[in-house]
Symmetry: C2
Subunit: 152 residues, 2 copies
């Protein structure tokens, strides 16, 4: 039910097919992404990788995540939380972001009803529509009721 990135095995094949090499570092990252139910940053993927392979550099993590994003196997998001988020969910979806803790939740909503009057479009050719809902998650609402309200 929850779509995710391809399996480590599939990604291995895709990398090889592209002439990219499959190193232990990359395999570790593939596994982490496949297990992730979140929208991790490069930093957090790195933190998880080094639990098993302490020498993997953050540079390598960035490189692999970028390769995956270039191949369309991962989406890269910027929801204004400072660092890029990598989204293993490739389905057409949108995001709900907690303004307290930065937590991101996938949401499915129909954007076909959103209209932009032709004159407002100013000749632009619109290709994508991204919706970001912002609010506060249950934890942030209950534990730190008002923190962060002044930074929007």
């Amino acid at each position: 039910m929850v779509p995710t990135v391809r399996s480590p095995t599939e990604l291995t094949d895709l990398f090889r097919a592209r002439g990219l090499k499959v190193t232990p570092q990359r395999q570790a990252i593939f596994r982490i992404l496949h297990d992730a139910q979140t929208h991790p940053t490069a930093e957090s993927v790195h933190a998880t990788v080094i639990e098993d392979m302490p020498t993997v550099s953050l540079r390598t993590v960035y490189q692999t995540l970028n390769d995956l994003a270039d191949m369309g196997e991962l989406l890269q998001l910027d929801v204004g939380t400072g660092s890029a988020r990598f989204d293993p969910n490739l389905e057409n979806h949108h995001h709900l972001v907690c303004e307290g803790c930065g937590r991101i939740v996938d949401v499915y909503t129909d954007t076909s009803t959103l209209r932009v009057a032709p004159r407002q479009r100013q000749g632009f050719d619109i290709t994508t529509t991204e919706v970001v809902f912002r609010g506060r998650c249950p934890e942030c609402r209950s534990t730190i009721p008002q923190q962060g309200d002044n930074d929007a």
Copy 2:
């Protein structure tokens, strides 16, 4: 018809009322914002300011823009173009971003039809909805037809 930030005079009063001082640097920034029909970056505001007052530092521009944003007299946007954009349009609106040149256009669209199923909401309290339409402006379509297509 095009809403904009308050007049330099009004902003002067607001600053004083808040115990903030009104310096020549700030007045210059107030004027530039009031004249702007765009979504300038701090850098571009600075570039304009120093045409008249060559000694104004970028630090001061950031400070003033942040003060205005804190006061709610300016909106701060992040549409993934690398740097923050400051939007003098305080009305409820959304954005259309050119993936070629980064140009931003304000658009008014009704988001009340966007539904997020309660179970997807995961207990979040949704306060705002932001829509970013991405595409290509007429200039980028005609002059550099495909540049930048690989970075989405």
